[in-house]
């Protein structure tokens, strides 16, 4: 890509010649000049920049925060080791797809090595012979047992979840998290700016550094305040949404329980009515018999 300074001067000479300066006795002759020094200076500057990028890529604070060495800085492939060799050879070359991993997969025959050909496939071997259905001697009892079992599941599994959610209504994790996030992000942004400036070889004066520090302190304060305020609104929104969900759930539970209470009350009424009817029938029977006996005398 880089053609060298002598090439540039030759091109300039050609251009001047084509404009007529070459034919009117005005001729530029650079053959006696040695441009090797200029080329070397350009080469050196380029190398310094690449070394600087390589150094910055090697200690990226963002990557440390994220626990990853590859996030945050785009790999341009121009990073160099101190000896001038590419820090990451072949980084610019088109990357080949990663080889398919040979993962041991447990098959019907046991643990073997099998190539993964498709992702997300469902293991379905087609229709299978199903055994005979078990005979149910007492469907009423079976129904009662299953219904009780399902309700036990509700009481042991669903209820604790609902109660856990009720405890979440007073959650303030977003608000508590906001200052920590703000601090991390402001530090990251400061580090990024410092790093980028160092990539260009910029050296700030003490006054500029002081001003920058004051400005950063000011922005940090604003950022924390803003983050906490946003988090408060977000927390309120989140807690309100959860409250709405739980209130809807409570309404559904209320509806269900009302239905059940209605059933229970209806059954008691039925039993009381049946008892009353039976008592009345017994009395009618008794009086009927007595009446018949009296009537027969």
């Amino acid at each position: 890509m880089y053609m060298g300074a002598s090439w540039a001067w030759t091109e300039i000479s050609k251009t001047l010649g084509s404009l007529g300066y070459g034919s009117g006795g005005f001729e530029l002759d650079f053959s006696n000049y040695n441009f090797a020094g200029v080329d070397n200076k350009v080469e050196q500057a380029k190398k310094e920049l690449e070394d600087s990028i390589a150094a910055a890529q090697g200690s990226d604070p963002m990557a440390e925060v994220q626990g990853s060495t590859s996030l945050g800085v785009a790999n341009t492939g121009s990073a160099r080791n101190p000896d001038g060799t590419p820090a990451n050879p072949g980084a610019n070359a088109p990357s080949a797809p990663p080889p398919i991993a040979e993962v041991p997969i447990e098959t019907a025959e046991g643990v073997g090595t099998q190539e993964i050909s498709e992702i997300g496939d469902v293991e379905y071997g087609g229709p299978q012979a199903a055994g005979p259905l078990a005979e149910v001697k007492d469907p009423d009892k079976a129904y009662a047992d299953v219904a009780k079992d399902r309700y036990d599941f509700i009481r042991t599994t669903i209820r604790p979840f609902q109660e856990g959610l009720v405890d979440q209504l007073e959650d303030d994790s977003l608000i508590r998290q906001a200052p920590a996030d703000a601090l991390t992000q402001t530090r990251l942004a400061e580090d990024i700016s410092t790093r980028n400036l160092s990539r260009y070889g910029v050296r700030e004066t003490a006054a500029a550094r002081r001003q920058r520090g004051m400005g950063q302190q000011f922005v940090r304060t604003v950022a924390v305040t803003d983050a906490i305020n946003n988090a408060r609104v977000g927390q309120l929104d989140k807690n309100q949404a959860l409250l709405n969900t739980l209130v809807n759930a409570a309404s559904a539970i209320n509806r269900t329980s009302m239905g059940q209470l209605g059933t229970a009350a209806g059954l008691q009424q039925q039993r009381e009515a049946a008892y009353s009817n039976a008592r009345s029938a017994a009395r009618q029977n008794k009086y009927g018999i007595i009446g018949s006996l009296i009537g027969s005398i």
Binding site: M62, G72, V73, A74, L133, A134, E135, V136, P139, D140, A142, Y143, V146, A147, D149, F153, T157, I158, F161, Q162, L165, Q177, A178, D181, A182, T184, L188, A189, E190, I192, S193, Y200, V202, Q211, G215, Q216, V219, A223, V224, A231, G234, A241, A252, I253, R255, T256, S257, Q260, Q270, R271, A274, A278, A281, A282, N285, K286, G288, I289, L293, S296
Partner: protein, 216 residues
């Protein structure tokens, strides 16, 4: 069926389709029992899933990638760039936190709805069982007392018949005593009968129990 009117349990045996219906219902219920851990897993996942951390990590990565593209020295020298970066980074994370909890809330709502659906179904089933069993119990009790009343009516009828006979017997004795003063019988289990003797006089005699009985 057949014979007397007394039914046998097999007269009310379930049909083949009723048996099949019960069998597949229990089979499906057992299958649901196998899937029940999935519901528990769903609830646990809604409770534990670190969506916020995931969202924050991704937001951070996207943000950092955007920052390292197209570096510009003029922009880098300007403090406003740093300030914007700081504010944008904080906003980015705050938004990621919020997006994370919103997504989590959606998962929680979903799990909660599943639980509510199960509860409603279970409550309905318990209600149906209770209604069915109470209805059956009432019917059985009604039938039991109806049987007892029928027995009492039978006894009452017998007593009524006996009383009818007894009063008729007493009446016959009283009539016999009026017609034949020498007649002394007054037993409710016997009846007085009249006869005309050779002397053309009406006399009474006592028979055993009924009006057509033999002379006692």
């Amino acid at each position: 069926m057949g014979g007397s009117s007394k039914p046998k349990p097999e007269d009310y045996a379930p049909t083949e389709m009723e048996k099949f219906n019960a069998a597949i219902a229990v089979d499906a219920s057992n299958y649901f029992k196998k899937l029940e851990p999935l519901i528990v897993k769903d609830i646990q996942s809604a409770s534990d899933l670190k969506l916020t951390q995931m969202g924050k990590g991704r937001a951070q990565a996207d943000f950092a990638q955007a920052l390292t593209k197209n570096l510009d020295m003029k922009l880098e020298s300007d403090f406003a760039t740093t300030a914007n970066r700081m504010l944008a980074g904080v906003y980015n994370q705050t938004e990621a936190n919020l997006a994370g909890v919103k997504a989590k809330n959606a998962d929680i709502e979903n799990a909660l709805n599943i639980g509510l659906g199960l509860e409603s179904t279970a409550a309905s089933a318990v209600g149906q069982v209770a209604t069915g069993q109470t209805g059956l119990a009432i019917k059985k009790t009604d039938n039991y007392f109806a049987d007892k009343r029928a027995k009492e009516r039978l006894v009452g009828k017998a007593l009524q018949t006996a009383a009818t006979f007894g009063t008729a017997n007493i009446a016959s004795h009283m009539a016999a005593n009026k017609i034949d003063p020498s007649y002394q019988g007054m037993n409710p289990f016997t009846r007085a009968r009249f006869e005309v003797g050779d002397d053309k006089q009406m006399s009474a005699y006592e028979t055993a129990f009924g009006p057509f009985g033999r002379r006692a």
